[in-house]
């Protein structure tokens, strides 16, 4: 194997800069258990098991419990594990940055993302004259307001059929990957936002339009970097969505894990908040100019 020294060096500097960014803004760094008894049921994310428990696919549930326990602003950089995810941009064990703030919504998170990437570009000396970032021959300008486009509009603009049809024919993911994503984040980074309610995961529905969830994904140069939302804090609706996901999991022939009852019980006390998960490996890829995630980690599973 060839150790990717440049990627590793930049990763070390970037980890430090990430922490400084959040600590300076009053966030408390936390560590929650990697091994948990009951993950959030998700149709397309499969957990690895460990002695009858599960390796986290995201620290989301534990972090929200800390919000409910009264800590208003927290962040965490940790390992997450997802079965079967391996490709140029995926590792089954990867590093996630998550941050949560009480009293915030997804628009606040978008502003955080803009501030964070501009800060990192400056801290890493990667910002060109006007705060540009260069990746795979593309110059992405971080300085102006970033592009914001709703999922419905993105499908109208780039996909061969409307969003409604893509959903009805179960072709949403396929069309998103093939037709929409390649156009996102090319001039400035792009926020793809207002996901259809059925793809809302743990996001609250928009108070003005209940057909969409206040969820967004951040893209830079076609690379999906982060997924954030205004958090759903209604335990009744959250339970209903978990049950629906468990049905899909059963339909796929898998056995869903136990319901995260402790999390659901605590949701009652959780303040309105927003939270986001950002892939740190991909962030390093972006700043080091790598087109393959293998170039930013010390070891790949195949190299062990």
């Amino acid at each position: 194997m060839i150790p990717p020294l440049h990627g590793l060096r930049l990763r070390a500097v970037l980890s430090q800069a990430l922490r400084t960014f959040f600590i300076d803004r009053g966030y408390l760094e936390v560590e929650t258990p990697l091994r948990i008894p009951a993950p959030a049921p998700e149709a397309h994310i499969v957990s690895l098991t460990s002695e009858g428990w599960y390796l986290q696919t995201s620290p989301e549930l534990c972090m929200k419990r800390l919000l409910a326990a009264g800590i208003p602003k927290i962040f965490q950089i940790c390992k997450c594990f997802r079965h079967g995810e391996r490709g140029d941009r995926h590792l089954p064990e990867f590093t996630m940055l998550e941050w949560y703030a009480a009293g915030s919504d997804y628009l606040d998170l978008m502003a955080d993302c803009e501030a964070l990437l501009r800060y990192l570009a400056a801290a890493l000396g990667k910002a060109g004259k006007a705060g540009e970032l260069e990746w795979q021959g593309r110059r992405i300008d971080l300085a102006p307001d970033w592009e914001r486009i709703t999922v419905a509009e993105a499908f109208r603009r780039y996909a061969p059929c409307a969003l409604e049809e893509a959903l009805a024919k179960d072709r949403f993911d396929e069309l998103l990957v093939e037709y929409v994503e390649p156009h996102l984040g090319l001039i400035t980074p792009t926020f793809l936002y207002d996901y259809p309610a059925e793809l809302g995961a743990l996001a609250r529905l928009s108070p003005t339009d209940p057909t969409v969830a206040e969820r967004f994904e951040l893209y830079v140069a076609g690379l999906e970097l982060a997924n954030g939302f205004s958090e759903l804090v209604d335990p009744v609706e959250q339970r209903a969505r978990f049950l629906a996901e468990r049905e899909v999991i059963r339909w796929q022939g898998r056995e869903p894990g136990p319901m995260p009852e402790v999390f659901l019980a605590g949701l009652e006390l959780m303040p309105p908040a927003a939270g986001i998960a950002l892939g740190v490996d991909r962030l390093v890829m972006l700043f080091v100019g790598a087109d393959n995630i293998d170039q930013v980690v010390a070891f790949t599973p195949e190299g062990l």
Partner: protein, 187 residues
């Protein structure tokens, strides 16, 4: 049967009764969405290729091919000559049918020749082969190009990225499934 999670470059599968080889493969998965497995498949008889996106629950049949251990002797133009070590029978396989395998073939190497209805259509290589470096530029100290590796040319003409300390004449272990450098080996 192979399920989508088994898919990788070099996999040999059967579609409508004909053998295909997966010449390219990529995994993608939009946030919270389904895993998508995009594959390029080449018909091992006609050479025709197509691309298709598969989902997690899709499966492909294993190609029904006969395997026979043979020794690679030499190449003549675009034909590569192999010999049965027991019967001394010889046969040829074209460069196009061998695909990326030609990067790793050295004289007298034992490989598994794949046959379909008695016709040779390709080979399966050992997972790892040792090849000699025939051309390598010296590493420039203080190189600021931002790379951790440099390209060298192997005895087969194959160009591979290696660590800077590799020199001409070194023997390297290469993973034939991915084409990447594994380690330097002692003679």
């Amino acid at each position: 049967m192979y399920s989508a999670s088994d898919f990788r470059k070099g996999l040999k599968v059967q579609i409508d009764g004909e053998p295909y080889i997966m010449t390219d493969f990529s995994f993608s998965k939009p946030g919270k969405g389904q895993a998508l497995y995009r594959a390029r498949l080449r018909n091992m008889i006609t050479g025709n290729a197509f691309e298709k996106t598969f989902r997690s629950n899709d499966k492909l049949e294993k190609a029904a091919l006969e395997e026979r251990t043979m020794q690679y002797l030499y190449s003549q133009g675009d034909d590569y000559i192999f010999m049965d070590n027991v019967s001394f029978e010889q046969l040829e396989i074209s460069k196009a049918q061998l695909g990326d395998s030609v990067n790793f073939l050295t004289d007298n190497m034992d490989v598994e020749v794949l046959q379909y209805n008695g016709r040779p259509i390709g080979v399966t290589l050992p997972n790892f082969v040792n090849l000699k470096v025939t051309q390598s530029d010296p590493w420039v100290k203080g190189d600021t190009s931002g790379s951790d590796s440099k390209p060298v040319t192997m005895e087969t003409g194959y160009v591979v990225q290696v660590p800077p300390f590799i020199e001409e004449g070194d023997k390297l272990q290469i993973d034939t499934r991915t084409g990447v450098y594994v380690t330097r080996v002692k003679e």
